[in-house]
Symmetry: C2
Subunit: 430 residues, 2 copies
């Protein structure tokens, strides 16, 4: 196959510094970044005048297929929300629902500038199919729950190994598989130990929810006289390959454990606020050198997948939590949504910044709009004023997924119709 | 002049209940709401299939012209932000800057579904000119600051009276003028007493900032042994015509004073978070029957004017503040952004709901988009997943300001260019 090139010219790059320039893509990689305006030949030329070029955003905690449950139930206590609404619906989920839900989420993510996601759910080969078709990048894991039952545990091992076998390193390397123990309280120590062993053996990442609610910490203290991260340290579970979602209720000692083990944290501010879980001590973790990235969580508790909203909220929530407006500045939340996300997923050599040699995962944001005028500081605008809908063009792995707001890889009308039908089918079964 | 009619058909109305239907507008008013699908004649017919119809949103605290300072400075301590960035720029503001800044804000508000605003700033006749041209509704006041100086005070009286004389009840009644004492600490008791007297005499509203920061409350306690609302009560300033912005730091006794005097509160969650002012006890005020509405504050501390963001953040911030996900449900924040805003501005008989006899201030939100799919509960989608950019059509006072995302009343490209030039001019003077 011949080499394909794309030239993005007249843009403003938000890379190590903010500068005017052009970016040349060859196949799946960035091969040149230049100020040379006369450089003008490529198979495809994108004139990005008035647009800012950033790395594709990285969403480090999601349950993609749950977008079918968006708006199903809100404003409820957590137990009623789960027991009466989410779990009854999940009991009827089939592979086709998961495929369609993931396709809807992929479409939403493309339109709002996210090119990589970290997903935990069920029927993950069906989710992989949606990721493959949509052209984005995904680290996927089967959500393992054994509830301390041996039969269930064996089933979870089997499904996890099936997904690894079937999906890991597929779709030109865009799809990778991780191990997904749900939480320290829904998974037995046996399961967690198996996960740790497999991760070491196969070099896989681990994706887990830890310390989302105050109740989880209290239960852990009651049951084990240890806080969740202390327990995980005790069973030698923690390590640099662990991506811990939420991590809202943390002691200082736990932050030290997170740092010492180089555990990666996925902060989900909008979900934590909507479910009233609490305010994560993100600024304390960052001050201690912890790698904190951003996730949206599933659309059932957000209710969208827009990382621009997540960036703004992450910054503002830390400012008001600390009563200090200097905390978590604009440039820092942009890092959290890009290179920190890439680092969390072990992809920091490939994506997360605009650099020669890296994969071409690139997003253009249109700045010629009232809420981004006047144009002064693009980083401020990206963090505090832009919305997902300002994204105009999205490239992942060197392929143009959306151009000037037209999604090229999926039929938008068809996906919305499939999603409505799948949601209706699910409701009728529940 | 002949009667003009507009029929909006096949829509989903979010009025007292959610229902399918059509709305007939005659001149500036809603004259019929019907389920009759055969009703099909009007000068202009808008087919709103797939769209949800809501009242135009009401933004009860703004400094419109400050959109020229959007992104000028962020992530700074309040005193440095004001002393080194905002005030030096404001010192060079002229009428033309204020006109252009307000025009930019009006354009942004139209595009995100806001049809009424409550504005405090300088050169308010220039702001009125922008509001007039843009077709939206505004309650405008000159921001009065005397710093306890008699000469300054006289100047503020003069400017306030000039603006009332020139602008009150202009633009077919779309523009009204209020009295705008800046704060209880930048205005002398003499000025506040004059404002109270004029408000009673002329039946005007009063727009003031109260208890935005913890420091303001501490200073008030040090200077007067009273908290800000206690002081205002003592000088007989409070009343149902007072719109108090921010009101972040409140004692229980102050909430009772606010309720007893039927003071209207404008809650500005994003600004309060960005400036690290604090978390207003909104749920406590609502539980006590206080009328709380929503404002964006100026774009320099937000950094946009999107009331959809403000609705989501208001709800989520109260949930996490109370660690209770049932607090401030979707339907309540929608009320805050519509009828509560109208009530705050004394316009509840005219706008804020979709009812026969009210002014036709109407917004259509496009639901056929990935982040609003599946379509289950439009109120949940409006509060938790929609963004300003989902607004497709905006009508104010019976006039179509934007149709299918095309702004009809202003030349968007021209306004953006004027704003860039005005911002540049302002920077060069500072």
């Amino acid at each position: 196959m011949e080499t394909q090139t794309i030239l993005i010219k007249n843009t403003t790059l938000v890379a190590n510094e903010v500068r005017k320039g052009s970016v040349l893509i060859e196949d799946d990689k960035i091969v040149d970044i230049t100020d040379n305006k006369s450089f003008n030949s490529a198979d495809e030329i994108i004139d990005a005048e008035g647009k800012v070029l950033i790395p594709g955003l990285v969403n480090t905690h999601n349950h993609l297929s749950m977008s079918l449950m968006r708006g199903l139930a809100d404003d409820l206590p957590l137990d009623i929300w789960l027991n009466d609404h989410i779990w009854p619906m999940e009991a009827h989920l089939g592979g086709e629902h998961c495929y369609v839900g993931a396709l809807l989420s992929a479409l939403e993510m493309i339109k709002s500038g996210t090119t990589t996601c970290n997903d935990m759910y069920f029927f993950m080969d069906e989710v992989a199919r949606a990721i493959d078709e949509s052209g984005i990048r995904g680290l996927l894991c089967h959500g393992m729950i054994d509830l301390f039952d041996e039969e269930k545990r064996k089933g979870e091992y089997k499904e996890t190994l099936r997904i690894i076998e079937k999906c890991h390193n597929t779709a030109d390397g865009r799809i990778k598989v991780a191990l997904g123990p749900h939480t320290p309280y829904t998974c037995s120590p046996e399961l967690l130990n198996w996960v740790r062993k497999k991760a070491d053996e196969k070099g896989l990442k681990i994706h887990i929810h830890v310390s989302e609610t105050q109740k989880e910490v209290e239960d852990s203290l009651n049951d084990r006289k240890k806080r969740p991260f202390e327990y995980l340290e005790d069973i030698n579970f923690l390590g640099p390959d662990v991506i811990a979602a939420h991590s809202v209720w943390l002691s200082g000692a736990e932050i030290a454990l997170i740092k010492d083990n180089n555990v990666k944290i996925s902060h989900n501010p909008l979900s934590n606020m909507k479910l009233a879980s609490g305010m994560s001590p993100v600024s304390d973790m960052l001050a201690n050198g912890v790698c904190v990235s951003l996730g949206t969580d599933g659309a059932a508790s957000n209710n969208n997948l827009d990382l621009f909203q997540e960036m703004k909220t992450a910054s503002l929530l830390q400012k008001v939590r600390n009563l200090d407006p200097t905390v978590l500045p604009a440039s820092k939340v942009l890092e959290m949504a890009t290179i920190n996300g890439a680092t969390a997923l072990g992809m920091e050599e490939e994506i997360g910044t605009i650099e020669v040699g890296k994969k071409a995962d690139i997003v253009l944001v249109d700045m010629k709009t009232p809420h981004l005028t006047p144009y002064r500081n693009p980083i401020s605008h990206l963090a505090y004023s832009a919305e997902g809908s300002d994204v105009s063009t999205v490239i992942c792995n060197g392929k143009i997924l959306m151009r000037e707001k037209e999604v090229l890889v999926l039929d938008e009308v068809e996906v919305l119709e499939m999603a409505e039908n799948a949601a209706e089918d699910l409701t009728s079964r529940s």
